[in-house]
Symmetry: C2
Subunit: 251 residues, 2 copies
């Protein structure tokens, strides 16, 4: 993570006979126009046929600083921060699944529904907005698989630290709060489990915390603490029921 300028993309497009050649060109044009925005080129990959469609892009880039920001550069005492709001994308997916299965949606506010679905289908990268914080950041990771999963990965390599999260501080959009209220969903659980929000989790030292505090769109959600006991994730103010689930990668 950190100051990486994306430059090249490897595209893997598994297409199905159900999809028309014209649609494939439209999809390709969409991908290309997004890549053009970042001055990024498709340099290779593969196209093949299957019963189901699968589109994947892997981006390669150039590190602009001498040192990358890794997932594990943090020290005990560093503060944990997240950008934006969490769980919107997962709620958008839940809405789409309910629509597909003809299940009831109790939320009456259409703009809430539209916002959450859009956050799932058309996520916006905050590349430029986050740039100015990089110099204060000691470690950083994406939240593709959810906050809880990201915290697990961060602490996996060190048996000496735990992360202490104040569940009350997890940032939620008002739309997510309203939807969770109406549908009787635990919004804190959604914030911990939901992935694909295209936000980042990062740490800053105590010294730089004041610089981050001033910024809008950044929430300080916890701290790196010495490990005491077996748990690597400690939840404060939490009354979450049931086991937390994040997306589990095979590798």
């Amino acid at each position: 993570m950190g100051q990486v300028q994306p430059r090249w993309a490897i595209g893997n497009f598994i297409l199905s006979p159900r999809i028309q050649k014209e649609d494939v060109f439209e999809i390709y044009k969409g991908i290309k126009s997004e890549l053009d925005r970042w001055n990024c080129q498709i340099i290779g990959g593969d196209i093949s046929k299957s019963k189901e469609i699968s589109l994947s892009l892997t981006l390669l880039g150039i590190l602009k600083d001498k040192h990358p920001i890794t997932r594990t550069g943090f020290r005990i005492g560093d503060y944990l921060c997240v950008s934006g709001t969490l769980g919107d994308s997962l709620l958008g997916l839940k809405i789409l699944n309910r629509i597909q299965k003809n299940k009831t949606i109790r939320t009456k506010n259409d703009s809430v529904i539209a916002y959450l679905v859009k956050r799932h289908l058309l996520p916006q990268l905050r590349f430029d907005g986050l740039k100015k914080y990089y110099k204060y950041v000691t470690s950083c990771t994406d939240l593709s698989d959810g906050l809880q999963k990201a915290l697990e990965i961060m602490t996996r390599t060190s048996s000496e630290v735990s992360v202490e999260i104040d569940v009350e501080k997890l940032p939620l959009s008002w739309q997510a709060r309203e939807f969770c209220n109406c549908e009787n969903i635990d919004s804190k659980k959604i914030a911990l489990e939901g992935g694909e929000d295209y936000e980042v989790l990062f740490t800053v030292s105590t010294r730089n915390l004041k610089r981050i505090k001033k910024e809008s769109g950044i929430s300080i959600i916890g701290k790196i603490v010495p490990r005491s006991g077996s748990k690597n994730i400690l939840l404060q103010h939490s009354n979450i029921k049931g086991k937390l689930v994040g997306f589990e990668h095979l590798f």
Copy 2:
């Protein structure tokens, strides 16, 4: 093409619920052991789920010469050469298809069947064997999609040249000849159309032809000539019936 040292691989593995986790690890171990031979590492990619399995690797490498050998570096008068034998892999695929569909195979010689199937399922890279020729080579391309397709791609960018191929010179293994004889298949057509042989097509100047001529495992199959008329591929000694088909990529 040319002196490229493979270094990194992007893996895209679309897995199906029908495949066991243990089998996935076995496949991965197989891929890794092959990559280890070339000192190559998987650095990224994607894993997802579908009804059908699809495995794809894209390799990235370092160019060891100042200039790459391109597909279009040839000049009029250069000779066209191919490594190894052509069409074995396609015949191996035909055999497997016939077995799957319970169709008759007339060829009685089991070693012929085994050889062709192996050439399809376990192709061997000739990386080291071809290295010594690179300095004489003016252009080079792989034969993944068949000779005819490679010739099309080579001549696509120049309206001033054609390739003249002597069909009698196309290299065929004795196993391919015997199988085609028994099954009443036009072996020359197979040599022109068959892909996935993991051989290369390259050109050399008249001056360097004598160096290539001495080498076994290389066949001189034709020449780059000035274009006269509309055809970019001219076949000598050919009595091939029907239209030639090569694998047509969408992009």
